[in-house]
Assembly symmetry: C2
Homo-oligomer: 214 residues x 2
Amino acid sequence: MPVKSEHIPRATIKRLAVYVQVLENLIREGTDVISSELLAKACAVNPSQIRKDLAYFGEFGVRGLGYYVKELNTSIKSALGVDRVWRCALVGVGNLGKALLNHHEFKLRGFHIVGAFDCDPFKIGEEVSGLEVVCTRRLKEKVAELGIEVGIITTPPERAQRATGHLVEAGIKGILTFAPTRIAVPDHVFVEYVDFFHHLYALAFNLTLIEDEQ
Amino acid sequence: MPVKSEHIPRATIKRLAVYVQVLENLIREGTDVISSELLAKACAVNPSQIRKDLAYFGEFGVRGLGYYVKELNTSIKSALGVDRVWRCALVGVGNLGKALLNHHEFKLRGFHIVGAFDCDPFKIGEEVSGLEVVCTRRLKEKVAELGIEVGIITTPPERAQRATGHLVEAGIKGILTFAPTRIAVPDHVFVEYVDFFHHLYALAFNLTLIEDEQ
């Protein structure tokens, strides 16, 4: 059982998520052991980086052999707290919300979206991916009933803050938002922003530099 | 005209994208000038961080007044190369692909998705958000015809590498991928990964820490 560290830096968590992604693909392919060089290559980092990241919660790897795929995957997931099911509520059943409700990977990774919410009367009662869309005002009741711990916001930007208010009032302490705006939350609530545009900006910036050089 | 720097760090680009998001919301609301404190608060950083980030490409801000919203926004966008239109191809017209094709924000931010591609014969010819879905094998021809520079991958993970191959062969040098897997590209191609799960992992990790403390 790996020790839980309170001091895993953000950049390390990001890489650990990549390691899990690669390790789970290896498990599906039936690979038992992988050399540290091949694992590093598949994760697009160098082997010493992997060793450093894993050192936060234990010692892994066998000299001359590499890593046991399943064991390493289990240990990383346990250290991150993703070796269990997290029940999630999605607020905002538009195109993106529907796409996420139908996205198999969430369930595969332990994030079960068990409630879908919208304030549009035309959407309430609709069934999406086996879930009945419920009025956002009923969030508090449903969060308690369904044991929901994580909120996912896929509303338009102008409705993101209101969705946040409903989630916080319902006792949710972790929010993943896809809405292209910043949201304000109390100190005890964690927010993660999925921002497509900083990625597109980084691409545009790099492509512009190449063009300038040519 | 701000100077273009080759040395804007990745973390700064990420924050610059947030500043643009906040500044564009301010422009829509009709705000002309904003104090550095209020801008910093809206962006969830401190004022000295903003000054440091802007110093990469110029001097901004008026002592005792703050920032001119429009001027600052234009300068940041010019420095990043996002003050122009980038034409994009989307490969993989599933639920997520459709959601992105219908996502207004891409066009608003200068990223125009002008081609939609899929290898599924049942999807080819279908119209999504005003675009006819074209066979992925015709990517090279369409990229040249439509002046496409950026590729967006929304295929399932097992088809992401093939989509990458088609994009690279078509001459694309910048790829944004939503597929939950790593892809291999030649050295001259930039890849950005949109990974929902590292955000969910970061949330789960933080929520687990709180629970352990209680």
